[in-house]
Amino acid sequence: MRAMFRQQPLFTVGLFIVIGVIVLAVFAPWLAPYDPTHVNVRTILLSPSWAHWCGTDTLGRDVFSRMLYGARVSLSVGLVAVGISMTMGIVFGAVAGFYGGRIDALLMRATDMVLCFPTFFLILAVIAFLEPSVWNIMIVIGLTSWMGIARLVRAEFLSLKQREYILAAQSLGVSPLRMIWAYMLPNAMGPILVSAVLGVAGAVLVESGLSFLGLGVQPPDPSWGNILTDGKDNIQIAWWLSFYPGIAILITVLGYNLLGEGLRDIFDPRLRS
């Protein structure tokens, strides 16, 4: 274990960051020094101090406590959105790669079409039709980010299909569903896992962007993005509102990216440069 950590510094640092953020998010109710939604007119816009580590916002709420609760939002959006995009991408990619021919052509053309849209436009347009809420954001981010995974799974399946053990299984009459699920998918799991981890990083960034625009998590619920919106409006008087939430996003996204890149190195030593 220790040897692996030494050999894989990227992976190790990433893993520690990711676990750290998850722990903070899970134990937020016990760790937060204040109620994240408690409005207090006597503590409006206080700069960081021992009592309020990251200062207070325009309604006198403790920014550090809000950030701890914001971690819950960011991580759950990231995980659920990636769960949705993984499921869609794996189903589309597996069917296209396994059956090939016309089904493949049809599915891949559909993927190309969705890829033409700037993803952020697509997300915003759907949000415009629905109401912005945490659930809708998870679903919308998931539904607009499956294309990369679909292409990846398809490519993996196309190459797996040529392997001898698959030909052998085919000649033994294994059913297509079982073939995909039990014979091919496990062998494609490495790259899928890597892009899932990187996908969480992307989803966290998109969620914070949406919340920053006021189209994501709605106040009074805290999110790193919507604390930053407050920061933008008070940039001349309260730097801490802009500074700390951004650091939280940066470290979290960095953690997932490092973990993903580290996993890539572990699964595919050929790529190590």
């Binding site: 849209f117 700037p118 993803t119 915003l124 759907v126 930053l228 500074f243």
Partner: protein
């Protein structure tokens, strides 16, 4: 060359049709019809009035006919009228906002190429050296940094504390009194931060890509041959390898266009630029569906055009592609 371009252009038609289908589906999956929305609880609006409105907007026709009518108008660039108070044609509204968005994105692409190519090449040439390692760290940070946060910090530092750069809009208050030259400088000063913020993610990705591309080329046989023939390192790296490593960048630039256009919403919101992204944001808040759909279609069309340009540029730079020789 011309034939290749025309071929590429033709092959985009099915994609274009697909884009309109998806957009149309999205518009009609939305709960509530725009003409009926907000009217159903209005006592002054009778059921007949609603029916008249639906007829006026063609909403009583079957879906495929509605799509056909919408498509026919789309072909002549008729995106309908804005649902907001001014009821202006959507196309006019988009067109007056488009130049700012294009300026920011074209300048961002230039900045990405200017920075990422040298950074990537130097990292590959001095692989695992001090430069390469520090650049790798910066690239990881560049990937993870939320662009709007970087923008906020830069506004705070350069705009508020040091007062070097303007932090919003595209003109100074008294820009009409300036000479043409001063106006240009003023415009560029206003765009400096937005362009930098839009480019940061692209710079990180592109320099990483340039590095691995360059490393791959350096390993190629013809480079070994050149080395064996006694060429010095400098001409091998910068004359032979660079040309081949730079080719894939063209494709990647084409692929980065949707991200840039999508990102313009946040950048234009942050710096209060009167561009298409900002219009999109305002339209979403106002539930101005025709404008939202118009810009969504426009964004996809711009992406297609960008990819087309990238393909043509690639074919121009690499004759093998346009003659159909496998590379």
């Amino acid at each position: 060359m011309l034939r290749y371009s025309l071929n590429r252009l033709l092959s985009m038609l099915p994609l274009l049709l697909g884009i309109t289908l998806i957009s149309f589906a999205m518009m009609h999956l939305a709960p509530g019809e725009p003409s009926v929305l907000g009217q159903q609880f209005n006592p002054k609006v009778s059921a007949q009035d609603v029916e008249r409105l639906r007829e006026y907007y063609g909403l009583n026709e079957p879906l495929h006919e509605q799509y056909w009518h919408w498509l026919k108008r789309l072909v002549v660039l008729d995106f309908g009228h804005s649902l907001s108070g001014d009821a202006r044609p959507v196309l006019d509204k988009i067109m007056e906002r488009l130049p700012v968005t294009l300026w920011v994105n074209v300048l961002a692409i230039l900045l990405i190429m200017l920075v990422a190519i040298p950074v990537g090449v130097l990292s590959a040439v001095h692989r695992d050296g001090f430069w390469d390692r520090s650049m790798t760290v910066l690239v990881f940070i560049g990937f993870a940094i939320p662009s709007f946060w970087l923008g906020l910090l830069l506004m705070l530092a350069l705009g508020v504390n040091l007062d070097w750069l303007p932090i919003s809009g595209i003109h100074d208050y008294d820009w009409r009194q300036m000479s043409l030259w001063q106006q240009g400088i003023d415009f560029l000063q206003h765009l400096l931060l937005p362009v930098f913020v839009s480019a940061i993610g692209g710079v990180a990705g592109m320099s990483r890509f340039m590095r691995s591309g360059m490393l791959e080329v350096i390993r190629a046989d013809y480079i070994t041959t050149a080395r064996a023939m006694g060429y010095d390192d400098t001409s091998i790296h910068y004359k032979l390898a660079l040309k081949n490593a730079i080719l894939p960048i063209i494709t990647l630039l084409g692929l980065s266009i949707p991200g840039l256009i999508g990102g313009s919403v946040i950048v234009e919101y942050l710096f209060s630029l009167p561009g298409m992204g900002r219009l999109f944001y305002e339209a979403i808040l106002a539930r101005d569906y025709t404008v939202v759909m118009g810009i969504t279609v426009m964004g996809a069309v711009l992406t297609l055009l960008g990819n087309l340009l990238a393909d043509i540029a690639y074919a121009w730079a690499d004759p093998r592609t346009r003659h159909g020789v496998a590379t």
